[in-house]
Symmetry: C2
Subunit: 252 residues, 2 copies
């Protein structure tokens, strides 16, 4: 028994896609769960959560126009969300990393407006929305938590709006790098060295730039000794300067 538990523990620690996890022992629960939830309430929430087999790179988690029934917390890996615009081209609306939640766009009309695609092998926790709603009626903090989650999505989308509306190509790239950096450090990973899970094309699409511009900015930032890029590996060598660039003080 003790031996078995040790094995499980070891696998938990080593494999980020391990299915045998509950919210109670999940390393990400400070990110995706409200801090003020009681242990027994966490167990009740855990009881409704479904964990399937991991998505492979390129797999859809769901597609735009699918019937909505769940939101999903990313457990490992990374995904992108994208909408089809009226004239038919894709718009990447967000990248989601472990601990973050996708799918809330589907609540309004009971259909997802985004498609979500794995950028690399990724596992997710499925939260059936109807059951979460029922549970929320009994656990006020859970209700509050979901209101907050959705509100945060709103404020983040509005930050993207500001970025697209007001910032130069260089500022947009800098802001994206800083966003990924801070989200990594929230998960106890390095804020300075990381691997971008998405392609240049995805970055360009997300930031409203062409792939050529993205590439040029990366090399320019590298020449300015702000970052060092090797394919998808990024090393931020001058965090302070990167912040200045993101805030538009790059050239003044």
């Amino acid at each position: 028994m003790t031996v078995n538990q040790n094995i499980v523990k070891t696998q938990d620690a080593n494999c980020p896609h391990d299915k045998r996890v509950s919210c109670g022992n999940c390393r990400l629960n400070t990110i995706c769960l409200p801090i003020s939830l009681h242990i027994e309430d966490i167990d009740r929430l855990n009881g409704i959560i479904q964990r399937g087999k991991p998505l492979q790179k390129g797999d859809y988690l769901y597609r735009a126009n699918d019937h909505f029934h769940s939101v999903y917390a990313i457990r490992s890996g990374a995904v992108k969300a994208l909408t089809l615009s009226d004239n038919g081209e894709e718009q990447v609306t967000g990248f989601y990393l472990p601990g973050e939640v996708v799918g809330m766009d589907g609540i309004a009309d009971n259909r997802y407006t985004n498609s979500v695609i794995a950028l690399e092998t990724a596992s997710v926790c499925e939260i059936p929305f109807n059951r979460m709603e029922e549970l929320s009626l009994q656990i006020p903090n859970l209700q509050r938590h979901f209101f907050q989650l959705m509100s945060r999505e709103i404020t983040q989308d509005q930050q993207i709006i500001t970025l697209l509306s007001k910032s130069s190509a260089e500022e947009r790239i800098a802001a994206l790098l800083l966003s990924i950096s801070s989200r990594n450090s929230r998960r106890q990973l390095s804020a300075n060295a990381f691997r971008l899970p998405m392609s240049r094309t995805d970055i360009g699409n997300y930031l409203g730039l062409t792939i050529e511009t993205v590439s040029r900015i990366f090399t320019r930032l590298q020449k300015q000794n702000v970052i060092s890029v090797d394919k998808k590996e990024v090393l931020i060598t001058d965090m302070e300067l990167l912040r200045n660039i993101a805030n538009g003080d790059g050239h003044c």
Copy 2:
């Protein structure tokens, strides 16, 4: 008595800023309330709603960083929401017309991230959020309604992201005109003739364009006989063409 009631009724019909309104008799309740709410539940919701004196043009409904305690349904007039970006300039994040709800950005961190300012004389219904939450625990449809409201805000913000990321200046203006048009017709107003409540500066700020570009696009659309503009009065003369322009088929 009968006479008095008639007077009240007359004022209701004539003055959109009249305070003596309840959700039950509000002409906008199909827009801002869930259809599936029972009459007695509407009364309970109405019981927590506060209606103050109207805002005058330029008045703040609340300011970014204010402590969050309420969301607001616009009853009459129009308001704009704006954030301050990191480098200090304003970004208009939305225009809100009667029946629409502002303030949900404040839930995440108990502080508003936007400021909201009246574009013209406007009256609002204040919905204290804590009391709405309590009521939601007893009225599942109300909980669902707020999830949907917030989800709709998310999908709308994502549409703006797509607009800013992918569309030309002309497409952005066309899309804004169509948005206002359809929101007007939802309130039984003309889809073709209306008054823009916001300035050219606000439009440019919202759409990521300079005021000069906004002005030029308006005159260009007018020369193409798509719209007719006189100051803030807009007449859409070719709805079909305007839709084509918004979808990027304007020149192909």
